[in-house]
């Protein structure tokens, strides 16, 4: 062994962290060298987030050692981590919603002069190809835009170790390439990147080494480029997984969702105006709507669910009925179900039990409401059925929604909607922030359900997901929609290009 070992930037030895009822990290060893891009792979609950929180000083380990540049170190709080030169972009953003982009960035930096900072911010954002508006308030921004703030804020601190938790979920392929370019540049400067992602193809193309966690333990380490995405996924989950296969020919019948000349004004400042949208979804078909965050997906979802009232003009027909003025309950009674992007606080109530969350959308469809009184035993039965059928790992229907991991809660929510046997399924970002195992399962369930004759509208910023599930694909950009085309006739690059332009469906042309 006379290989030259590159200098160790960070070394973890036997890191152990226990939470009430859960051993999140069990004697984990990890070493990160200068100049490398190191992947941390693992399912939800594998302990990745706990481990990076320990590195970043958010949590303290119960046992174990942390060595920084060959010296035994303690990182009691994030400020110490930043001092050492550790920067982090969290999966769950730490931004103040009532403040602007610029103010949020200013909070993390010692500089107070906002004008200098604005200039620096714009320069950095541009250098890394991230579009940002310094004066926009965070509460009006999409998840994708919020993440860009976090990335730029972190880059401004010039870190030696740059930790990113699922950073590409909301980027276009082109933007992802730019980010990767940036990350490779950072690594070539002798800095290290710790990259957490469930997108195995990305890990393969970007990362030099990978450490794989499962159930709080380090189970494997490998060089991702020598593995296939499939073999990486299996290492991560610890068992063989069934990959989803899409049928190329589908039997279409009956239009279940038709949208014609839909116009809608934004309900919030800086919202996106929807102009002249046309599309339809038939039984047995999945229509994918791709697009970068903040291009009107949220507004479209609100108009389709009926949560934000009626559109300014145009028609929405669900199951052959015009629903423009119907409320969400009336739309559900026609046989439609909806699944918004945000899990906690929108699709589910964090501090309520799973059963109570079941009732949230199934009250009328499943006849749990008996003249204003709730049949709780029946709700509990249905909840248990969801838990069984969708393999939700939880202590039972009495568990609080907030106690479930993201993947498990999402499985529960998808199950709640599918088991109501809708004819039309409208879903947004079904696997955002969900681990590969749960994502694969959710994808399979959606696909099987579509094949059984339901119409599915899938709004997603994840192109892998769009291509995996959709029969036809349209792209939403600046509140306009491209003509839907057969998925097998489209390439990732084509879709990527469509993401950057305004569309005019009448002429069939896209105008830049």
């Amino acid at each position: 062994m006379d290989e030259v070992i590159p200098p160790q930037l960070l070394q973890l030895k036997g890191i152990t962290k226990e939470f009430p009822g859960c051993l999140a990290n069990d004697r984990i060893d990890l070493d990160i060298q200068e100049g490398e891009i190191h992947a941390l792979l693992g399912e939800n609950g594998a302990g990745k987030s706990t481990l990076v929180k320990i590195i970043y000083g958010v949590l303290r380990p119960d046992e174990g050692e942390l060595w920084w540049k060959g010296k035994l170190t303690q990182i009691p709080r994030p400020a110490n981590a930043r001092q050492l030169g550790i920067g982090m972009v969290f999966q769950h953003f730490s931004l103040f919603e009532a403040m602007t982009t610029l103010q949020n960035v200013a909070l993390a930096l010692p500089t107070i002069n906002l004008d200098d900072l604005r200039e620096k911010l714009e320069q950095t954002a541009e250098a890394y190809g991230l579009v940002l508006h310094p004066e926009h308030y965070v509460h009006d921004l999409s998840m994708g835009e919020r993440q860009r703030i976090e990335i730029v804020r972190c880059l401004l601190q010039n870190p030696k170790l740059f930790i990113l938790d699922e950073p590409t979920s909301v980027l276009t392929p082109q933007e992802t390439e730019i980010l990767f370019h940036t990350l490779r540049k950072i690594a070539s400067e002798g800095r290290a990147v710790l990259y957490i992602s469930h997108k195995l193809e990305e890990v393969r193309s970007l990362c030099d080494r990978a450490t794989i966690l499962r159930g709080g333990k380090k189970v494997d380490a490998c060089i991702p480029s020598e593995e296939s995405a499939h073999s990486l996924a299996e290492k991560m989950i610890g068992q063989k997984i069934e990959m989803v296969e899409k049928k190329s020919s589908i039997e279409k019948s009956g239009m279940q969702l038709e949208v014609e000349s839909l116009h809608a004004d934004p309900k919030q400042p800086h919202g996106v105006k929807l102009s002249d949208l046309h599309f339809h979804v038939s039984s047995g078909e999945v229509l994918g709507i791709a697009g970068i965050a903040g291009n009107g997906q949220g507004e479209l979802m609100g108009i389709l669910t009926g949560e934000t009232g009626s559109p300014a003009s145009g028609a929405i027909r669900m199951l052959s009925k015009e629903v423009n003025t119907l409320n969400p309950i009336q739309r559900r009674m026609l046989g439609a179900v909806f699944l918004p992007e945000e899990r906690l606080g929108h699709a589910a109530v964090a501090e309520m039990t799973l059963s109570e969350n079941t009732f949230l959308t199934s009250a009328d469809q499943m006849h749990f409401d008996k003249r204003g009184w709730i049949n709780w035993p029946a709700v509990a039965n249905f909840s248990n059925q969801i838990i069984d059928d969708f393999d939700v790992r939880t202590t039972g229907e009495e568990a609080l929604a907030s106690s479930l991991s993201g993947g498990n809660l999402q499985k529960f929510i998808v199950g709640r909607e599918i088991l109501q046997h809708p004819k039309l399924l409208i879903i947004s970002q079904p696997t955002w922030g969900v681990d590969a195992g749960a994502a694969a399962e959710i994808h399979r369930k959606i696909q099987v359900y579509a094949e059984s004759g339901a119409a599915v509208l899938l709004i997603s910023q994840d192109l892998d997901e769009i291509f995996l599930l959709s029969h036809r694909i349209a792209v939403i950009s600046q509140g306009t929609l491209s003509l839907a085309e057969a998925a097998h006739e489209m390439s990732v690059e084509q879709v990527g290009l469509l993401m950057g332009m305004r569309h005019d469906q009448k002429s069939g042309n896209a105008a830049a």
Binding site: F19, P20, P61, P328, H346, L360, A363, I374
Partner: protein
């Protein structure tokens, strides 16, 4: 080092033990304070906490005091659960008393047995009318219900004073502000001879049970909870936000109005400039002490009533300063909040060196 960690599951037993433990610890702390004041701890504690519960007449007094606190507390807890902050129960209480009493003022010789039920209904209506103002302004113009409802308290107080000094003043009252005494038919029946315990107190004790059933079993109660904890999820499930705001405020106003007219027709028997010792505000504390649960509100209303009567006892018999009542209510609140915290979190001792070696 001490640290709080969220508990994975909260035991409902602990949630129920916490008010009891709070009482116990308050008594122990009280004993120390009494000894420091040079009084016998045992005797004073007895006067304060036990004596109000020993004689049937003081029990009756506790129930009479607790009644309005419980009624208003129930109405407020519905609104607070929905995240609608009605701070103006005091004004709604006064308007309830005004609306209901109008019958007794204009038909002061009535012997019709239906006058009392009609007054109660008018009382509820009066509270609702007063609460409808912030509801209308909030749903129409998105104005802040805290400010509007609070300011309407002062309007209500002035309206009451104007009426009892002006148009409604008792012609045989030697110029004192106040209406005629209500006719017998317009008075709450006293249930036991020699005690002030009345039919209204019975109503006040039954309402929490009804409210509990409705909140835990009905879709309405569910909607209130969803709307309060996750407005977006409420909209997603088809709950109409404006309807929730209206219902929350009308419930708060209706119960406060009922409490007002019950008080006017029972212990007072007329309208005067001062018909409430601040029940509408104290009930806010009762609602939160009871953790917005009707069962808790029932208990909290009793506790506040006991400390009130006990404080008077201790003042008269043991010569303790009147401020002790407020002190005790503060100590109870402190312990209750502390035990509540411990049902949601546990304290862990961790060594400072963890993570270093």
């Amino acid at each position: 080092m001490l640290r709080l960690e969220p508990r994975v599951s909260h035991s409902s037993l602990a949630a129920w033990l916490s008010p009891l433990l709070a009482m116990l610890f308050t008594a122990l702390t009280g004993a120390l304070i009494f000894m420091a004041l040079g009084k016998s701890a045992g005797t004073t504690l007895y006067l304060y906490f036990i004596d109000p519960l020993t004689t049937s007449s003081s029990l009756s007094e506790v129930a009479v005091k607790a009644g309005p606190l419980i009624l208003i507390g129930i109405g407020l807890s519905i609104g607070f659960r929905a995240g609608v902050w009605n701070i103006g129960a005091e004004g709604q209480y006064i308007l309830g008393a005004l609306f209901g009493s109008s019958l007794a003022v204009y038909f002061h010789e009535s012997t019709n047995p239906w006058i009392l039920p009609a007054m109660l209904l008018l009382g509820i209506l009066g509270g609702m009318v007063w609460a409808a103002i912030p509801a209308l302004l909030k749903t129409r113009f998105n104005s802040n219900e805290i400010l509007v409802s609070l300011m309407l308290v002062y309007v209500a107080e002035l309206l009451l004073i104007h009426l009892v000094q002006g148009p409604w003043r008792n012609p045989q009252g030697w110029g004192f502000p106040g209406t005629r005494m209500f006719p017998d038919a317009a008075l709450m029946p006293m249930l036991f001879r020699g005690y002030r315990f009345h039919l209204g107190s019975v109503i006040a004790f039954l309402i929490p049970i009804l409210a509990w059933i409705i909140l835990s079993r009905s879709r309405f109660g569910y909607s209130i909870r969803v709307f309060g904890s996750a407005p977006l999820a409420a909209r997603y499930s088809g709950i109409n936000p404006k309807k929730m705001i209206w219902i929350s405020l009308l419930a708060g106003g209706g119960f406060a109005g009922l409490a007002g007219i019950i008080e006017a027709t029972s212990t007072i028997g007329q309208l005067m400039p001062k018909i409430s010792p601040g029940y509408g505000f104290t009930a806010i504390i009762v609602a939160f002490l009871g953790r917005l649960d009707p069962r808790g509100v029932l208990l909290a209303g009793m506790i506040i009533a006991v400390t009130y009567i006990g404080g008077e006892n201790a003042h008269v018999s043991a010569g303790l300063p009147k401020a002790v009542t407020g002190l005790f209510q503060g100590i109870i609140l402190f312990y209750l909040l502390a035990f509540d915290l411990l049902t949601h979190y546990r304290v862990r001792f961790i060594s400072r060196t963890a993570g270093a070696s």
